[in-house]
Symmetry: C2
């Protein structure tokens, strides 16, 4: 039911294009996946989301467990039907959220106990429980439950968390029995090359349909992020999709693709959209700025998204200035389209042998300008 | 450029169907017009709005004058292009808003001076100015500037306001020179039959392409609303569309159609939608109510709107409970579709000779059930 086939390879970097097959269709990689934490990509209907050329989208096990609860999603016929998204869905396990949001968490090899941030009630999550929840939610891809410690942890603490994550992965693999759902393992190890290698090799020792690299962009420096991106892929199998979690800035996507990563996700396009900030090339524009008041061009004349086809900067400025909901929706729609367009352009550039690690196809001097 | 043709007549009431021709297409009446005060029907893209079967929509001269200002709209190519709505648009003159929002207003025959509620700056609006603004905005239909006093005013005060409204109408007619824009007059007169008659006859003495009845549903009792609805149409020409301003409850629409009204507008469908309340038949459902938590049916199984085709009550409940923007959009979309569907059903029922003043086509016992 799951397959990853490499289609073409870059002649100067480790970039590749591929096709990841899921029960809800194909994902052509490299690809950016929009985030719909609570079974909704904030502000966008599924029709609008489809218009961005999104294929696989993300939701979050931890958040969905709290609200509406996996029973509701299961009884509604699974997450695809619940949220009316009939293309692939991936659920993050919520490991990151458990540790970052569950303030009073108590961690043991058994699992994590913490107080529900919504109502203070006592909750306990284990690898087994997280697998059961994800099987109930019914996404195409589920993620292993991982221990994601703060980036400021000592090497010893990170090593302990990797041992736990490894132990948990074994239990996830054992518990996960849903054949129409893939289980991806997650590589941890913080900023420590030795631990990243250890973790990558361990996760790779399972024949899982895909592998993710987590614990990146959790507060560490950009150089540390780049180091992990460069280091880890060489320890991962090449015949499986490689997913770099939580990365959505164009520069880092480009660097990561050059190292052989295939899948990306980030809340940034929608979060920026909700603050009235639009993506343009590699810039961020605050559309509430007075300079857009009588600028009747679309955000990006070269963009074919619904927002750019139909609405001007002046109109979006007007909406944002007046706190009109539609402004947030339209800018989010553009921003998602923009990042997906970027990964689509990378894909085309790899096929055309003009991908570079500093990929910036909007520049007329770029040898990949035709991909934009 | 403007024409109103009656198509069919009810055999038991004064209801009629008709076609109002505008530069941006036909409006089949009776028809409900969604409100987009600030050149946006709150939360809906123009594609979503089109899916509700909306034709003519409303915007507001007073609000658009304050933000973004008519210059921006004119320079962008007019309101249709600005908001990407290429069907008919009507701009209310803002008379009602000037008197209800402009707290410190000073009214004379010359016009109204008041403080901008946004920034406290001094503003002056006259019939001439309001016409110029509306010609700049460029809707298909502009409304005359009317003096709309509080419903608690004495008969004398209302009579004075009618005299002023009449004087202003003459000046509006004189100033309004845009041939591709219709000017509608507005009947005032509060709850006083004598004054309503006086006003209706005066407005009717101009050969305008349409006439509206304003100052209804501004705080007076439902019986007083019904009295005005019954009284005024007999004094209006039958070969012009009759627009009952600010009315959007199904019961009152039905009563008004039976008296010969053709056009309606109301903020209710979107305002309720933003509060998580959905329209179902003649009921209002608060979708955040726990009973919808695991109700996997659409809001209305008989409704073909995008929301009802694609999303369940349980999903909408989930969105509303979590303050997700999409919930507001989807419920507003359904609510607008619902009221438009109601006026479309009335239209079909008039043609099929089964319209009644207590029109409730969802009831299986209704002789007009097939129109729903």
């Amino acid at each position: 039911m799951f397959d990853f086939t490499s289609i073409s390879f870059c002649n100067s970097t480790n970039a590749r294009t591929g096709i990841f097959t899921t029960p809800h269709g194909l994902v052509k990689t490299p690809k950016f996946m929009p985030v719909g934490t609570l079974a909704t990509v904030k502000g966008l209907s599924s029709t609008q989301l489809e218009s961005t050329d999104a294929t696989m989208i993300l939701s979050n096990t931890f958040h969905l467990h709290l609200q509406p609860g996996e029973r509701i999603i299961k009884e509604s016929g699974g997450i695809h039907k619940f949220m009316n998204w009939h293309k692939p869905v991936l659920t993050d396990s919520g490991g990151y959220q458990v540790f970052s949001l569950g303030k009073l968490n108590k961690i043991s090899d058994e699992g994590v106990s913490f107080k529900n941030p919504r109502d203070g009630s006592y909750l306990f999550l284990s690898p087994e429980k997280i697998m059961e929840i994800q099987m109930d939610i019914g996404a195409d891809v589920s993620m292993a439950f991982d221990h994601c410690p703060p980036h400021t942890s000592t090497e010893n603490d990170i090593e302990d968390s990797i041992k736990r994550t490894n132990l948990w992965l074994e239990r996830c693999v054992k518990t996960h029995i849903r054949k129409d759902q893939a289980l991806f393992g997650i590589v941890q190890g913080g900023k420590y090359p030795r631990l990243r290698e250890l973790s990558a090799k361990f996760v790779s020792s399972f024949d899982l349909p895909g592998i993710a690299v987590g614990g990146v962009s959790v507060g560490e420096s950009i150089d540390e992020i780049h180091n992990v991106i460069s280091l880890v892929p060489k320890f991962l199998p090449s015949n499986k999709p490689r997913y770099l979690m939580g990365i959505g800035t164009l520069k880092e996507i480009s660097i990561a693709v050059a190292q052989g990563f295939d899948l990306f996700d980030c809340v940034l396009p929608t979060r920026l959209g909700r603050h009235g900030t639009a993506l343009f090339n590699n810039e961020r524009w605050n559309l509430s700025n007075a300079r857009f008041r009588d600028d009747f061009r679309p955000i990006d004349q070269s963009c074919t998204c619904e927002t750019c086809k139909n609405y001007s900067r002046a109109y979006l400025h007007h909406l944002i200035r007046n706190n009109e909901l539609l402004g947030l929706t339209l800018i989010s729609l553009h921003n998602i389209s923009h990042v997906i367009r970027f990964t689509n352009a990378i894909s085309k550039a790899i096929q055309d042998n003009c991908f570079t690690i500093d990929f910036a196809p909007w520049e007329t001097s770029s040898i990949a300008h035709h991909t934009w």
